[in-house]
Symmetry: C2
Subunit: 113 residues, 2 copies
Amino acid sequence: MSELADTPEPPYWAVIFASVRTEGDADRYAQTADEMMALAAEQPGYLGVESVHDAETGAGITVSYWESEQAIAGWRAHADHKTAQRLGRERWYRAYRLRVARVERAATFERSD
Amino acid sequence: MSELADTPEPPYWAVIFASVRTEGDADRYAQTADEMMALAAEQPGYLGVESVHDAETGAGITVSYWESEQAIAGWRAHADHKTAQRLGRERWYRAYRLRVARVERAATFERSD
């Protein structure tokens, strides 16, 4: 995660994607993941993303933030994203869980020193 | 993350905690984090947790799941948790963002082979 997502005041929407990788095809996975992050950022209604992976265990959590459920539906149906979703199920993920949630409250802390 | 959280059918609630660590006090941080995960699991209304950290960058995302906003409020006000929250701001976190969200939909994939 390069930084925390600078989202606006709630309400907005979050897609929480928790995954466990297979061991294979690491190069193509990493390249596609980068491409999908860049492509998501170009979609209407995109607000930001936070993503952390543990290289040792293959676990990852990516949370993307969106203005509306319609924006999430649009990204879900994007042709290149659909191809990546299929490859994810065929090759890259041992298991994942995806949750769509409406963010109601948020709080931020930043160290002052 | 040891495994994906086995949450019930939505709706339920999620606390999305995205953080960036300071470089100090690693031992006490890790011990307290483990203690807080165990203590959270004993609270009324707790449904599960998913947590991933990147040891190289100090970034982390922990998502805990709860039956209700009341359950979240109860955990937030727990005395030991409040102490950990204070130490987090004083010592362990460079920055964090915490979001409370209502999970409306969920989907799961598990590899069959």
